[in-house]
């Protein structure tokens, strides 16, 4: 007996996508393996590491704790919605300038978390950044350069404003 399929229509990075999905398909798997947007990474599948963080209707959420079927009628943004290698988003450029990544596996989830954070808190201090970052685990950097990168991105946005 084939598993029941549910039709969904979801806006991903500004483009409307239609698909048929099994109810249990995790949003993280849908994004990665059905849509081919492999920038969203999976680290724990129990909502702790934050690697799979995406924006759900503009709000950071764990893609491993949502079912794809739930996103019907909603919008999703992934790391692919930011810059390109040739034209980095200012936040991405700040991460590069500050060496805010090593293996880069946790990075897309951190970028999506911090993008939303900076929109809400354009002038954060270090303590606020560290708190906002606390739901994203990084095993390589020790966080210091991530914090520096977010500060830098905020400062540059202020200068540009």
């Amino acid at each position: 007996m084939a598993a029941r399929q549910y039709p969904i229509r979801v806006t991903v990075n500004g483009t409307e996508r239609e698909a048929e999905v099994e109810a249990r398909l995790l949003l993280s798997d849908f994004i990665r393996h059905r849509l081919g947007l492999t920038g969203t990474h999976v680290g724990c599948e129990h909502g702790v590491c934050g690697a799979c963080t995406i924006l759900h209707d503009g709000v950071p959420a764990r893609a491993c704790l949502l079912f794809a079927v739930q996103t019907h009628g909603h919008s999703i943004e992934t790391v692919e919605s930011l810059g390109t290698p040739e034209r980095l988003h200012p936040l991405q450029a700040a991460f590069r300038a500050c060496h805010g990544l090593q293996c880069g596996y946790c990075t897309p989830g951190i970028l999506m978390t911090m993008k939303a954070f900076l929109e809400q808190h354009p002038d954060p201090d270090e303590a606020a950044i560290r708190k906002a970052l606390s739901g994203n685990l990084c095993r390589c950097t020790g966080y210091q350069n991530i914090v520096a990168a977010v500060s830098r991105a905020a400062a540059m946005a202020k200068e540009g404003a």
Binding site: R24, D29, G47, L65, L66, F67
Partner: protein
């Protein structure tokens, strides 16, 4: 770590949601934020046959505040909204203080208060806070609606007073009387983790500065929120006054009473003895904070 198969229902009205639950009973689970349920499903520890997604149900995302300060928090109200709501902060500071300790921003963006309570994890902060605040938990089913006092709602680890056909649709919090001081203190290994021990305190002072009501409730101390009558008894009728030494002695005595009255289980991170000790220390500190806040809001002060 992929969840087992299930059928998915996305009702758009409460009546439809309740009819589905009535039909499927314990085989079905409601899905609101999913921040506790989905990890459990990914580990295959929980395997509902049907998920009833509440996110499309109108009217469940109500966060209402009456002119008197009574709060109604619906089943789809996310932690992040409670945390940032100024009316909630004004009327129920204990709830906001505790909710900030729940997990991390991304989880609070999705997770709901009602979902957290219905999950009934004894390590969670919010059940203890509900007990301390004497919240009324409104359960609805096709059979009707009933109100369950928080103290009766939590019946064990992951076990509540909800019947298989019921939804925890709303939490109702009455305004705190003048002269009330509250505090929530916990210690977690990392910020956002479940607490090694957490203590919610509510104290009420009358115009003479005497403590007329005291509630001290722990999370992580048993299979449900643990309210300590012995601790409350130490505090009730006490008049802390302005002598800091006497106040400290009172707080410490209350903390000691709490430690003596609980039987914490211990975890991989903590021994039971350490938990008991933490309860004592955190309670003493939280009680001191609550006294300070109560005094700041006391009727006497406004004279």
């Amino acid at each position: 770590m992929k969840p087992p198969a299930f059928d998915y229902e996305a009702p758009t009205s409460l009546a439809e949601a309740l009819a589905l639950k009535a039909r499927h009973g314990e085989d079905a689970r409601f899905l609101a934020g999913g921040q506790s349920l989905v990890p459990a499903m990914n580990f295959r520890l929980v395997r509902p046959a049907v998920l009833i997604d509440l996110n499309g149900v109108a009217d469940l995302d109500h966060l209402s505040c009456s002119s008197s300060g009574a709060l109604g928090i619906g089943a789809l109200v996310r932690h992040a909204r409670v945390e940032s709501d100024r009316e909630v902060a004004r009327h129920q500071p204990l709830l906001v203080e505790a909710i900030r300790e729940v997990a991390h921003p991304q989880v609070r963006n999705r997770g709901t208060l009602c979902g957290n309570l219905a999950h009934a994890d004894p390590a969670s902060e919010l059940p203890a806070v509900m007990v301390a605040l004497k919240a009324q938990l409104h359960a609805v089913s096709i059979r009707g609606e009933r109100s369950i006092p928080a103290a009766d709602f939590f019946q064990g680890t992951y076990t509540t007073a909800l019947e298989p056909d019921e939804l925890l649709a709303r939490v109702q919090l009455e305004p705190l009387p003048t002269g009330t001081g509250t505090a929530f203190l916990e210690l977690a290994r990392r910020p956002g983790d479940y607490a090694m021990m957490g203590v919610a305190v509510l104290l009420q002072l009358d115009a003479s500065g005497a403590c007329t009501d005291a509630r001290v409730v722990c999370c992580g101390a048993g299979d449900r929120p643990v309210a300590s009558a012995a601790t409350a008894a130490v505090l009730r009728a006490a008049t802390p006054g302005s002598d800091p030494v006497a106040l400290e002695a009172l707080c410490e005595a209350a903390g000691a009473a709490l430690a003596a009255s609980i039987d914490p289980p211990g975890t991989v991170h903590v021994t039971a003895d350490y938990q008991r000790h933490l309860a004592q220390v955190l309670a003493a500190r939280a009680i001191a904070m609550a006294f300070g806040r109560a005094a700041a809001h006391s009727p006497r002060r406004s004279i």
